[in-house]
Symmetry: C2
Subunit: 191 residues, 2 copies
């Protein structure tokens, strides 16, 4: 998606350790007009595929998923990273290792919100090693729901997550796929 | 807001300890069509007041704020509850005690996204004792930004947060204010 690539080139900052900071428009400050364009693009890319639920994971996927959901007329469920006193009863659970936070989270979804009737589109901001997406897919499997596909804003194409999903035959639509980036020169190359 | 009150009556569940579960439509599964109606209502209530930024706190405020922001043509900034390796440099920081999670969080906002030029509307899902809102207001003050007002989905009117904000002269617009609730009878009364 040209608009997103241009925005990453303009406002993204490459840091050491393969970190791409896009916090000025994607995951700390959020450009809602851009999110609407991303939502429209996913709708086009998943045209004809049944989707009745959007699934994401807190926190940085939530805003993107909420805006995108408007184009699918579907509610959003976000997986939660900690057990709260408000989350009682029956839960799907898994563990996800966070690249950014360098720790392992317990991730939960209430069984009431993911069922065998659901055709689920996963939406998230980043795909690197695919840990978060694999965790969400594991919970979709636990629920007996159908995975409609995966929509990602920024895929780090030089890490393994995207290739592994495509090899499984999963419909993955990443709006910007980074081929390489260089924190010394500050350059970003897209696929 | 009648639509939200009706939805709380229909799908809200009162639990012991003054806990109101609205996770089927507000803060785990999110009804995006309802959020759009809430956004329109806040726009009406804050008509004529300058707003160029929406501020919320992760995680459950993000979806509501993102949808509401469409009616204000403003970006959303969400305060983060943990320090990540992606959040370097200059930060506004404060501490917030969570009623739901029964713990104290460090909360941060990058200084780049809150400045003296900003007229900030705070949006959040719940107002009880006001700890989260007070933390966000503290960071608005640190930034020298202007507080335009506070928009809340559900205010627990029997706790102190709302009264304290109104006594300070802050424009607070809660779309549903709960007068009392009873977990044995399962009843909810609104103001």
């Amino acid at each position: 998606m040209h608009l997103l690539e241009e925005r990453i080139r303009k406002d993204g900052v490459v840091k050491a350790g393969n970190v791409l900071k896009v916090d000025s428009f994607l995951n700390h400050q959020m450009d809602i007009a851009l999110f609407n364009e991303m939502g429209k693009e996913w709708k086009r890319l998943f045209e004809g595929i049944k989707v009745n639920k959007i699934l994401t994971i807190e926190a940085s996927g939530i805003g993107i998923a909420a805006i995108a959901a408007q184009y699918f007329d579907a509610p959003v469920v976000f997986a939660k990273k900690t057990m709260t006193i408000n989350l009682d009863g029956e839960l799907y659970t898994t563990q996800v290792e966070s690249f950014t936070h360098q720790r392992v989270y317990n991730v939960v979804i209430s069984k009431r919100f993911l069922t065998p009737n659901d055709h689920v589109l996963i939406i998230d901001d980043f795909l690197a090693n695919g840990n978060a997406i694999n965790g969400l897919m594991e919970m979709i499997k636990q629920a007996g729901a159908t995975l409609a596909g995966v929509g990602i804003a920024i895929e780090k194409g030089f890490q393994n997550g995207g290739r592994a999903l495509r090899e499984k035959g999963i419909k993955l639509e990443s709006l910007a796929v980074i081929k390489s980036m260089d924190d010394v020169k500050g350059t970003i190359e897209f696929m």
